[in-house]
């Protein structure tokens, strides 16, 4: 499969979840685990252009797929995307554990809908639990990126 533009080929047991494959086999530890029921969205990655939960998918199911993780957002030189920058400016993160999943859900939203309304942002983030911020700063950070017309 292709992850953040790099091709990987590995033999893995069918029982291995995609999130464990990313974290443990490829050391892409930005993708997190916050629950064991597919509820929290900390493991959200992009499969093609869609946000999905990598704990609800087997690694083998992603064979041949193209995946983007949080590590694939900023440039190699560390230049943040406008969305990452907006999270920083709006204090949209505290502990930062949910942040990669939030960013991936919001990135997928902005690709489809570059100027989302507040409600559309909430809907897009409904599958991502944050226990620190109370959500509003996250919602505002995403809306602001849309208003600026950049992603």
């Amino acid at each position: 499969m292709e992850i953040n533009g790099t091709s990987y080929e590995r033999d893995v047991p069918a029982s291995l979840l995609l999130v464990h494959f990313l974290r443990d086999d490829l050391d892409l530890t930005g993708t997190h685990v916050g629950c064991d029921t597919g509820s929290c969205g900390a493991c959200t990655v992009q499969l093609g252009d869609e946000a999905i939960k990598s704990c609800c998918m087997l690694a083998v199911q992603a064979d041949g797929a193209s995946i983007t993780t949080v590590e694939g957002l900023a440039s190699d030189e560390g230049e943040l995307t406008p969305l990452q920058q907006s999270f920083h400016e709006y204090h949209a993160l505290q502990c930062g554990y949910c942040t990669p999943g939030m960013l991936m859900s919001a990135t997928a939203l902005l690709e489809k809908n570059p100027r989302p309304s507040e409600h559309e942002v909430k809907v897009a983030l409904q599958g991502n639990i944050c226990r620190c911020t109370g959500y509003w700063n996250i919602i505002e950070a995403v809306v602001a990126v849309g208003e600026k017309g950049t992603r």
Binding site: A14, D36, K53, M57, L58, V60, Q61, S105, A108
Partner: protein, 284 residues
């Protein structure tokens, strides 16, 4: 999080999938996996073989039946596809409206209509919806194809008319005729959360159909209420009167969110609200 060992196959055709499912005891079809993978994480189920239906593109289509009377939804159509389908929008928009409230974007992107109905969790959205709409289910096996009504299809939690070696291939939903209104109402744990009680109503010239979720292992039709409303008076007073006694007629489960009495009450309230909204929509 940690699954037992499992074999995995990703067949290219429906025939191949059915062969795999019938050849292996303990084989299980893997659709979107948004329930099954979680069940496997909890080790509440541990199939020996997963037959991944992802490559069966013929199950990923939404189209009309030859006589245009039904919308045919492939079992592997995702909720996101339902939401954005122009066919659904034209022929039965309630499907998209309900799909948009299932869990969250990520789960809607992967979760399929076929998976949702085959799981038949009593809190799921599609079982009462499809029961109310009078959908039929097409099931294929090595010996051919058969269809089942919603009443026949839903048997129990995780149990449907699809038996070992069989595969649900499509769901046919009657297209909406003019003067038809559909609505779903219920109580969820938080926005877009799990249903504690739900009801779907469809109102048309043929009468009223009401199906309840969460009150039994299968969707329950509110037959008495339907009969009382057959006369066509869908005023609020009439609908409330028709629902009288509905709660008492049910034998709903108790859990941490609602005891049987409260859940029965919520089912009755949901039924009233669904019918009233459907009636409003039926007026156009």
């Amino acid at each position: 999080m940690l699954l037992r060992e499992v074999e995995y196959a990703r067949p290219a055709t429906v025939e191949e999938a059915i062969t795999l499912l019938s050849e292996h005891d303990g084989a299980r079809a893997l659709a979107g996996g948004q329930t099954l993978v979680n069940v496997m994480k909890a080790r509440a189920a541990s199939p020996d073989v997963l037959v991944d239906l992802a490559d069966l593109t013929e199950l990923r289509t939404i189209s009309f039946s030859a006589d245009q009377s039904a919308l045919e939804i492939g079992a592997m159509v995702t909720n996101t596809m339902v939401i954005s389908s122009s066919e659904v929008e034209v022929a039965r928009p309630i499907l998209a409206e309900v799909a948009a409230t299932i869990a969250d974007v990520q789960i809607r992107n992967r979760g399929t209509v076929g998976g949702n109905v085959c799981v038949n969790d009593p809190t799921n959205h599609y079982p009462p919806l499809l029961a109310a709409l009078g959908a039929t289910f097409t099931i294929r096996s090595t010996s051919g194809e058969r269809t089942a009504s919603a009443e026949e299809f839903f048997v129990g939690v995780y149990v449907t008319a699809v038996s070992e070696g069989e595969l649900l291939t499509k769901i046919s939903v009657p297209t909406r005729k003019p003067g038809t209104g559909d609505a779903m109402a219920g109580i969820t744990l938080g926005a877009h959360g799990t249903y504690v009680a739900s009801a779907v109503a469809t109102v048309s010239s043929e009468g009223v159909r009401v199906a309840l979720g969460c009150v039994s292992s299968v969707p329950v039709r509110a037959m008495v209420m339907e009969e009382r409303l057959a006369g066509g008076d869908l005023s609020e007073a009439a609908v409330r009167a028709a629902a009288e006694g509905l709660a008492a007629s049910l034998d709903p489960p108790s859990d941490v969110h609602a005891n049987a009495e409260y859940r029965g009450h919520l089912a009755e309230v949901s039924a009233v609200r669904a019918v009233l909204q459907a009636a409003e929509r039926a007026k156009g």
